[in-house]
Symmetry: C2
Subunit: 251 residues, 2 copies
């Protein structure tokens, strides 16, 4: 049972694209997978075909007003989704005791036992929703794009991370995936070298190449495997799923 | 005196890249410009050369513990910056009365009178920091990238926007700029058509092309005009500054 928070407070680095396509690749490889949409914007939910994101979902679970079984939906064979729901932003606005940080962990504890992988799509922030995701997770996956501003955010992210590990009193394995990678750009190759220098053994072996089909498929409410099964996007996410299962790292 | 909130809750659409380079282009065109870094991640601040973002900045102004004059710094000729400061995330966590939403407006009211343009770089969220930016602004500029998930966010953004306009009891002109535009992609051209259909007369004439120099320049703490003054990035932002000054829209 691996519960993976897919997080990075930097915007637009491919968290949602990775959650959807890595999730579908793991399910296609025979694993039981559930995706959780932690982003009030509900892009994962919409990309999975729930275009209005109006029915109660994760928002109600975090408010302790329903159970996981009531809100989880099958979206593809072996792939389920807990939608964001319309009131997720309101949950994040709450102030108060630190028990609010454990709502997701407690809400999915039993359900997760029956899953091989649970992937949590995080919003680009470091507030209560991301804190819930980190406390519920058994490991973290950080998508990183090949540019300077993406790298900048990492030291701050690690700071937040250490803070959570201390509070949890157990370690939370951290791994990275290079996304939207354009190998022709010197900048991207430079970022890759920096990542391998600072985080040896922590960068997954496959990098996800920039590929317009990955940007197009949500518009058809399809994963890359349904939209363009023979393209680079499908090839890369299929390989990434194997890296994750076998813990295959970049050298 | 035009105070422009550069906002979009979608991540990675070029808010920071636009604030820095449009700001520098306006200053080079002879305008008095101040940039405000509203993002706790401080990427604009760091891109301007303040690599630690450790000194008090906007965070102190919003907490009413200093004045604008104390924290504003010149970064280039005619271009000043109010840095984010280390405690901006803490300000966003506060709960309480609606007077918190007017802190930026009140804090910069006098100072802004002496400026031609004030550009506010917003974080990818819809919380207290973005609300402050909208209440302080006289107009809004929304960068939009040429892909489906960016378009999805717009209807929700407009919802938030209408809400603020109602509370402010005056209209807040809204305009869009297409960023990271790759004209060879059918998806991007389709998004451009949709934008012109839904928002006629509201899309600025120049679109900013995808150009790796725009991603590289922050790594050298330079704007595009210092890094690659003859490239597409500089050309596009220079033209965008003229569009903004002359209110030149895309047909
Ligand atoms: N490998 C890729 N090739 C081409 N486009 C991509 C790729 N990965 C992501 N994109 C596109 O880039 C944009 C940003 O990706 P995505 O929304 O997945 O990032 P995110 O980190 O979830 O963003 P946010 O911080 O707003 O939640 C989307 O429009 C997406 O379709
Ligand atoms: N026109 C462009 N061409 C190439 N790269 C670009 C362009 N515009 C922005 N980028 C790069 O894309 C990434 C996202 O841009 P940027 O950080 O400005 O977006 P943002 O909307 O401010 O993101 P966030 O939501 O995280 O604040 C950055 O690494 C930036 O350097
Ligand atoms: Mg996302
Ligand atoms: Mg930014």
């Amino acid at each position: 049972m691996r519960i993976i928070a897919i997080m990075n407070h930097k915007g637009g680095v491919g968290k949602t694209t990775t959650t959807l396509n890595l999730g579908h690749a793991l399910a296609a490889a025979g694993k039981k997978v559930t995706l959780i949409d932690m982003d009030p914007q509900g892009h994962l939910t919409i990309s999975c075909g729930n275009s209005a994101n109006k029915e109660p979902g994760l928002d109600q679970l975090l408010m302790q007003q329903t159970t996981t079984e009531n809100i989880v939906r099958d979206v593809k064979p072996k792939l389920s989704l807990i939608s964001a729901g319309p009131k997720l932003a309101e949950f994040e606005q709450q102030k108060g005791d630190s028990s609010l940080a454990l709502r997701l962990r407690n809400g999915i504890k039993e359900y997760a036992q029956g899953q091989d992988f649970v992937l949590i799509d995080c919003p680009p922030s470091s507030g209560l929703l991301v804190i819930n995701s980190l406390f519920a997770a058994t490991e973290v996956l950080v998508p990183v794009t090949g540019d300077y501003l993406a790298l900048l955010g990492l030291s701050r992210l690690l700071g937040i991370f250490k803070h959570i590990e201390k509070a949890m009193q157990h370690s939370l394995p951290l791994q990275f995936v290079l996304t939207r990678f354009d190998g022709r750009r010197k900048l991207a190759r430079g970022i890759r070298t920096k990542m391998l220098t600072h985080f040896p053994g922590q960068v997954l072996a496959t990098f996800i190449r920039e590929s317009v089909a990955l940007a197009e498929s949500p518009g058809f409410q399809k994963s890359i495997f349904e939209y363009q099964p023979r393209g680079h996007g499908a090839e890369d996410y299929k390989a990434l799923a194997q890296d994750l299962i076998k813990k295959r790292m970049m050298k």
